[in-house]
Amino acid sequence: MAITQGDISQQLVDTSVWSDQDLANHGIPVFDVPFVSVGGGIGSFSMVDTLRIAGVTVDQIRVVSDLERPSQTYEYLASNSQIRTDHRLRSDSSSVIDCIWGWPGYALREAWGKKTPGVAMQVLLEPVAADYYTPKAGQVYESLNREAARISWTQMVAQGVVRHVRRRDRGDYFVLFTPPAGSASTKRMAFRTRFVHMAVGYPGVRFLDDLQQYRQQHNDYQRVVNAYEPHDHVYAEMRRRPCTVLVRGAGIVASRVLQRLIDDRDQHGAQTTIVHVFRNYPAGPQGDKATFRRPASKGWAYQGFNFPKAAWGGQIRDHLESLEGDARRDFIDAIGGTNTAPRKDWREQLDRGEAEGFYLQCRGQVQSVVPTPDTRQVRTVVGGSNDIPPTQYDTDFIIDATGLEGNIEEHRVVMDLLHHVGAGKNVKGRLDVERDFHVRGTDNGEGRIYASGSMTLGGYYAGVDSFLGLQYAALRIHDNLVGAGFGRRIGPGRSMSQWWKWARNTAI
């Protein structure tokens, strides 16, 4: 079989375990480094931040990334879902992505920096007498970039796209990646590494099946859009002429999309009518026990964040760590699922919309999505349930705000781990990790693979896809690495001295 020097061959792709000689035969340059993080987004950032604070030096870490900065993908998705830099995220004040200690939180920093004591009062009274304080996206990005510079992030980044992570025949792993075209003398390069950290984020946005089918069948990508893809033309059109829009989903993204639509009515004179379709419609609190009951009303299930707060570090975390199999999956579904934040301004807008008739709710399964006979609009038929007859809605746009995620196998490197390295799936079909985010079944000699973020949902920790969850995973992985002889444990003394350096923005 012909081998192109500097590239991989099909034979190598089909071989699960690689040797140094295999890569030499292919002319692929190999570099040694003990720790490689794959991804380069916020998951990689929080891991590397923790390691650097633990004393691991720049030359011991490489991050393979095609991003310009760690927050790039996050910013893109947040911006598409209508959270711009001056809007607030759904994140706790003490989930401080640029500060592993979580103090001072975003609220205190905003109160101090902007001289707004009301913000400090809000965090003092939340959630009892005020909505949860949440930070502005811009503040989060800005402080994250500051911390990235402090830990010399760019010096650790190897620009490129990871193609394969494979076991090495004599222990450890190869991380094979494609550097940007023209930046290297070979098409592929590889790291030979003892520890691999996978933080590749969402496998991808997934559409509701009926909407995907509509888009493909009718080649209509303008009127049926996903909230996570660029869709500003929808809002622009609705400001130009009276339109009807159908929104699907009842989570935080749907909340924000509805706010944007009603803000445009309030501030720009849009005459938009909103039809909001609920597949499930909680009319009252969810749960049959007084000690396990989530507030819900008018179709929305409410909690401050995507899981109850104690999932990040309290009795819910403890409970989840004790569960296995279906019990764990069911519990994660019960505390998570579709829910949104109880914000007073959102409720006021929807109540007003309902009273004035520009916000209509309907419930049931969508039966069909087709163009109207005159092709000017899209017709959605919502099936009847509980004696409610089917109803059809003709709308100018449909926004899919369900926030569905793709299958992890859609991610090439994750698929590689599943098929060639011995990783398995957990009860929710994601990557199966231990309580310390060590990927089960992938050890190789002294080598270990870890994973954090969205791809590990279904494991022993619920809030994996959050700032605090990423920091928690990083700390657990750090402790595991210390056990394997990599880095020094961050104990009280080091913790204090490093916090002082962080507070003074001293480079480390």
Binding site: W103, A129, A290, A310, G314, R317, Y472, S495, M496, W499
Partner: protein
């Protein structure tokens, strides 16, 4: 905060046993005292109050933990940490005045109030952030120093 029961108990004992002792020693120098009262008498009263807050606090924590079960988030909002000082303070003062666990002689309400209020706010403020600078894993462990990790 999202304490577990064990975390509540551990945090109370550790914080009162460290910050509490140091602060009581310091505040004892400046609290209002009856004319002619000697320093050892004042310290006896103050440290007895500290002991009451620690020991009776175990029962309080059991009550708080039970109440927390009725919160969906299984959290303990920041403001709760301040508000509960009122019933705890009243009970601690009542016990102190009635010679429980032992007679400490006449104590001015202002003496007790100064010590109790300042100490409570200090510990509340430390537990709501700065403690994490020293004990990085504490918040994930639901307030525990021992257990709940690994």
């Amino acid at each position: 905060m999202t304490p577990t029961l064990s975390g509540r108990l551990q945090s109370r004992i550790v914080l009162l046993g460290t910050v509490g002792i140091v602060w009581t020693l310091l505040i004892g120098l400046v609290v209002p005292r009856p004319e002619g009262a000697d320093t050892s008498g004042v310290y006896k009263a103050l440290f007895t109050a500290l002991l009451i807050v620690a020991v009776v606090g175990i029962v309080w924590e059991l009550i708080y933990h039970a109440l927390q079960q009725y919160r969906w988030e299984k959290d303990w909002p920041t403001i709760f940490g301040l508000v509960v000082a009122v019933p705890e303070g009243i009970l601690a003062w009542t016990l102190l005045e009635n010679g429980v666990p032992w007679d400490v002689g006449p104590v001015q309400a202002s003496t007790f109030l100064t010590m109790f209020t300042t100490l409570w706010i200090l510990i509340w403020a430390i537990a709501n952030g700065p403690l994490q600078i020293v004990f990085l894993r504490w918040r994930y462990r639901g307030g525990r120093f021992i257990g709940g990790w690994g």
